[in-house]
Subunit: 153 residues, 6 copies
């Protein structure tokens, strides 16, 4: 019935026990797109100092660090790096985030949180001039790991 990993057979939610998993170096890459009127996108890209994009980039990095505070069943992870990039394209902004850790569980929720909050921050910065934006295609595009240490036995 349930291989949904966070719900046990009685239907109760639970945090997956990762205590016996090996320490691995883990990496995840996520993407999202903020769709907006081309005129809005053009203006975002023409700001003298790019600060709207920097604001979104920083918001994404800071949100990644708080993923386990926000997603109820996520484990706290010692992130070794979070990198968020925003690219203005015709009709929108593309957001990509890389998150890495050496831990017992994956880092994809951190990458997804980073792109989501960066996208919401772009939305917040531009909402006064564009009422029709949307955030789409929030997806995981890469997830890898490499065991660095045997599990505690």
């Amino acid at each position: 019935m349930s291989d949904l990993s966070h719900v046990d057979e009685s239907g109760a939610v639970r945090m997956v026990d990762v205590g016996a998993k090996p320490l691995s170096r883990r990496r995840a890459v996520a993407r999202a797109t903020v769709r907006m009127a081309p005129a809005t996108a053009a203006r975002l890209g023409a700001l003298p100092k790019g600060d709207a994009l920097t604001t979104a980039q920083l918001a994404g990095i800071m949100a990644a660090k708080r993923t386990s505070d926000l997603i109820p069943l996520c484990h706290p992870l010692p992130l070794s790096v979070v990198d968020v990039r925003l690219t203005v394209v015709a009709g929108g902004v593309e957001v990509e985030a890389v998150a890495e850790t050496t831990a017992r569980t994956g880092v994809e929720m951190e990458a997804l949180m980073a792109v989501s909050v960066a996208a919401l921050t772009v939305y917040d910065m531009a909402k006064a001039v564009d009422k029709e934006m949307s955030i789409t295609d929030v997806t995981l595009v890469e997830k890898t790991k490499e065991v660095v240490c045997a599990p505690p036995s």
Copy 2:
């Protein structure tokens, strides 16, 4: 050049000053969709107690209360209610959030944060069985206000 409300003429970012705006009763409604394999969606909806959906609902409500911690230029707001609903449909989950406040600035970022974090929580709960999910169409569907009090003069 810039009517992007959070970037001033020199390109510096800024929090909009809402001190002179009237206190209004404000309401915003946002939506998002988590797309997944029909088999995943069917299972989410058939869990004995629906707890995966409750988890996402609570995560959305709690995230709404932390919007001003996450979106750099958002004002803290005294939310009077946040309501998050998830509906399992063929091929996914639809998330809708209502946020209301009596404040000097709008509550749309709180509603958008609620649906985004609720959607990410669904993703987290189901990611062990479905590697191809995505979150789409994060949009604001309603925003209203009603002045309840003249501004401080």
Copy 3:
């Protein structure tokens, strides 16, 4: 079936909508007891500067301010005062907290959170010397309000 105020008829959880309630000045008082060996209690009370108690007092005040971050369906409240007092008695420490606000909903969870976290902090300070402590009788002892402003109509 359900007048449990945070669960609706379908069983879904919800934050109560307080937007139409009047602004009232509200006050709540809560208490808790940390039970411990008399020898532990005697030592807590004989510390040169009372700092273990001050630590617990501050932890309680700070936790009260974060109640809406911790209790999923609590509303954020603008606390006007939180006062936490600890008294060493034979066999333990009594904790009392007063919380006050001018808001649309009650402040009892803030007072209860304050005494709970203050009690847990006493436990943390003394656990190296006493393995048999417990926290009991966490209760609300007073709850009052006084309407100061008609509701927005």
Copy 4:
């Protein structure tokens, strides 16, 4: 005078230095009881989907992850699992939490925080129908460790 571990000889508070302790796999189990009228307990247990209990369970898990933010002298710990269970009994709800980590210091405060906040959340959900609840017997019932790694020398 003081083997209270968090207070030094001058009476000043301090965080215990755990840098030289070995990395151990650690586990703690805590319990608490929410006492309420039998009629309230019966209703909590008869809700169509058990969501009041799920809400409390999630609140407890999330609070455990924030223990070092709330208890002033606690160390941040990489929790590998937190499990919170609530059982409706005659006259109340019993809460049990298990917390585990691989770290240099114990995880009992995390387990105690989980049961305390889960109990407070039950209180919050039911307070509209029962004004006489109390939380009692917050206790540690098990604490174990197993060294997995020699300390840094």
Copy 5:
């Protein structure tokens, strides 16, 4: 003995009760200086996009919003605006923050927190190239208020 407002006659700390104070529109301005080698300052000012300064500016704004989480006896305040400006000068960076609210207590700690965290962020960005920086002259330069509403009586 003590007109230190947060310590009562018995020496116990306390949060000042502001419940009976009038709602006033309040404003505070604070400043700080980060001293560094002229070569470091020159480089900070010559970055292609000014992003190190934007990062510090945003960190200051976000920290202001969390003042009551960090300063134990501060009241939570609904900030209506926080504005942080950084100016590169010979030998350093000058930071100025303005914070405003309509509340029952002053907003100076928010302005001081903003400049302190902005200054620490400049330090963090430049510490790889300059080991001799310091932060000085963290001061309040203006504090005003204007009553907008009689107190609740």
Copy 6:
């Protein structure tokens, strides 16, 4: 152009990738001074129980644990100890903080955050009686490390 470690060649901000650095035992010591009227300092030092200083000490310890939440590009670190000491001198209070960790990156921002927030807390406690205080000489006075473990290769 830029060896400012958090700004890349295009001017974009970034979190430094520490994933390939060795695990080291790291220690940092920071200091700050709160300058005030001698009469204020005398009173702080003559309080019956020293609680104003304990409050500042605890605020510093707790803030150190939240450094990565506040400084945008800081990594989360598992602090093994934070020690904050305040000394009343003629004309002010001297604050010193020690922070230690076993991690892949340094702990100086944690020590600097601890002294800054402890100093701001002294300011908050005494501001009702002294309007002319300032915080100066926030500096790093020691930074050491010792490799305990080869990097993951």
